[in-house]
């Protein structure tokens, strides 16, 4: 299992016009692809064709439950029902199972609609525009920008990790550390974010799963009822077909939650809303503004078609694109001069992109996201894993919704979270006698976001102490 090895990109050699022919002339060098240097916390397999979140969540459990239940169904119930009822029972079961399995894999393994992070020049351009409207001293870009969408004011937030103003309906997933377009939620059952590109796969998955569980539940009940006929009793029937008991239990508990989830998402599709917007109440007008959903087509049929039948947008992250050669050589240098550069990395992180460009001459190592944050996030993996895992167990019957609220909490606090990281780094820098401007938004960061940030604090401190 290959994990992403995050590498830095040298900004001095902006790789816009390199031709692949150069790769051959420079001697024997393995062709590297863009997924290998992807800054988000994702895992890639099969040469970048398959991608998942860093933690698989409970995907193995989901797969296991589906396979076990369907397997028991075919072994225990189908022979009896084919003989006594109809031979199309296993056919229907097989079709539903294939649908469920394929759409689950598609949801888990595809790009949910990740927005690639802004290039250095873009980020500097944004900051320059904001600086030019204000005073000459550096301050971080304002966090929101208002745009008029279908005669309604919508706020666009600035993402400090991706260094850009997020398009509408885009949210930053703190678990995957990516901005995802039309972000719905991060689903631990599927082990991936659900966004613009894989929402239709997710919706088909839960609808076909609700059909499958209802179908199996119905068949098992019929089977046991038929066996218990003639006064022989349910216990006798269960003794004859023990697998049916397992199926009955699994299906009974899952059918309600899956049906509920399907119903909820059908409502979201019909009103062209995302789970994230529904939970945050973006269009419910609770803030007192006259807020209707500006993205809704005001017609249920058109909404459904636009969400489920619209042309599938392409993946924007170009996972299998070949990495230009200049970036490769920069990464070779990076390996040699890792340690002394780290100090400058931390310094640059808090100064922002403007400082990065100005001090480009001092250090060859820059990236559009906080390099220290990435390394720490990798170390924080276990902590986040425990935080993410605790949520599903708390509200088992509510399925994905548990993670929705945690996810959205994480999203709303993501910008503060990034600030918090750089704020903690500030303490370390003070110790190292590197001066650094204050992060202005640190004050409100202590309020919400709860335990998630608490779990980050200690590992952050310890990871920084690890002699980096």
């Amino acid at each position: 299992m290959k994990n992403c090895d995050y590498q830095q990109i040298d900004p001095k050699v902006v790789p816009t016009y390199a031709s692949p022919s150069h790769i051959g002339t420079r001697g024997p060098r393995r062709v590297r692809r863009k997924w290998e240097v992807f800054p988000g916390k994702n895992r890639f397999y099969c040469g970048g064709r398959i991608m998942m979140a860093q933690q698989s969540g409970v995907l193995p459990l989901t797969l296991g439950l589906i396979l076990v239940t369907t397997g028991l169904f075919f072994i225990f119930d189908c022979p009896f029902l084919v003989k006594h009822l109809s031979s199309c029972v296993p056919v229907i079961g097989a079709v539903l199972f294939v649908f469920v399995f394929i759409t689950l894999l598609q949801t888990s393994f595809s790009d949910p609609g990740i927005l690639p992070r802004a290039t250095l020049e873009e980020a500097a351009n944004v900051e320059r525009q904001i600086d030019s409207s204000g005073n000459s001293s550096y301050r971080p870009p304002p966090r929101t920008k208002e745009v008029l969408i279908n005669q309604q004011m919508v706020k666009l937030k600035y993402c400090f990790t991706c260094k850009m103003f997020r398009p509408p309906r885009t949210s930053h997933c703190s678990l995957c550390d990516n901005c995802v377009e039309r972000f719905d939620h991060h689903c631990p059952w599927v082990g991936n974010c659900v966004g613009k590109r894989n929402y239709r796969f997710f919706y088909t998955f839960i609808v076909s799963l609700s059909f499958l569980t209802s179908f199996i539940f119905g068949c098992v009940s019929t089977h046991l009822a038929m066996r218990a006929q003639g006064g022989r009793g349910l216990v006798f029937a269960l003794q004859e077909s023990p697998g049916s008991a397992v199926e009955l239990v699994i299906c009974f508990f899952s059918v309600w939650s899956i049906l509920g989830l399907s119903g909820f998402h059908t409502y979201l599709v019909a009103s062209n809303m995302t789970t994230n917007e529904d939970i945050k109440g973006s269009w419910s007008g609770k803030s007192g503004d006259v807020a209707t959903n500006p993205f809704s087509h005001r017609n249920v049929f058109v909404n459904c078609c636009s969400v489920l039948c619209a042309p599938l947008p392409p993946s924007l992250i170009d996972r299998r694109g070949i990495l230009p050669v200049e970036e490769e050589s920069a990464q070779m240098c990076h390996a040699d001069i890792q340690l002394p550069a780290n100090k400058n990395q931390r310094n640059m992180c808090s100064q922002g992109t403007k400082g990065l460009l100005e001090s480009a001459a001092l250090s060859p190592l820059l990236s559009t996201s906080c390099p220290q944050g990435k390394a720490q996030a990798a170390l924080l993996g276990p902590e986040r894993h425990s935080a993410a895992d605790s949520e599903p167990s708390l509200q088992f019957s509510k399925g994905c919704r548990a993670q929705h609220s945690a996810g959205s909490q994480g999203n709303t606090s993501s910008t503060r979270h990034t600030h918090h990281k750089s704020h903690s780094k500030k303490h370390k820098q003070a110790a190292l006698n590197i001066s650094n401007p204050t992060c202005p938004d640190s004050a409100p960061s202590s309020k919400d976001g709860g335990h998630r940030r608490a779990t980050f604090t200690q590992p952050l401190e310890t990871s920084l102490c690890d002699g980096r």
Partner: protein
């Protein structure tokens, strides 16, 4: 993505003076549209009409890619019936239009922008966030 156009080899000899970014226009929702406002840095290099025409054509092409018509509905329903496995075999409508867009941008670069010392970068390489226009130093480079 690396490009092998001969224009790029020429461009490697010229120095980059500045980069202009044309941002997205969200007034019609999340459709991919770019602002047609003429940036001040390009005033000396290209005329407004030409620039606006390029951006408007690009906007029309992106609108065509994302259009909700009967064809996209049929494609969507068919895809749903096959559990979306046809996406693995078939090129989607969006990808077909993206190829058209790439061709259009290359053609514009050859005919209009390169002679003026400018270069358009395909927005797909910037995650459909911006149209990046690179301004090269004016060393009277002629094609």
């Amino acid at each position: 993505m690396a490009e092998t156009h001969s224009l790029q080899d020429l461009r490697q000899q010229a120095a980059v003076a500045a980069k202009v970014f044309i941002q997205r226009d969200y007034t019609n929702g999340t459709l991919c549209q770019f602002q047609t406002k003429f940036p001040s840095e390009l005033e000396t290099r290209i005329d407004k009409q030409q620039f606006e025409e390029t951006v408007r054509t690009l906007n029309n092409l992106y609108a065509e890619a994302e259009k909700l018509g009967s064809q996209s509905y049929i494609e969507g329903c068919l895809a749903c019936l096959t559990a979306y496995t046809i996406f693995l075999c078939m090129e989607t409508h969006y990808e077909k239009v993206l190829k058209k867009i790439a061709k259009y941008i290359q053609e514009q670069n050859d005919k209009v922008y390169a002679p003026r010392g400018l270069l358009l970068t395909d927005p797909i390489e910037r995650g459909l966030r911006v149209i990046e226009i690179t301004i090269f130093e004016d060393r009277s480079l002629t094609q």
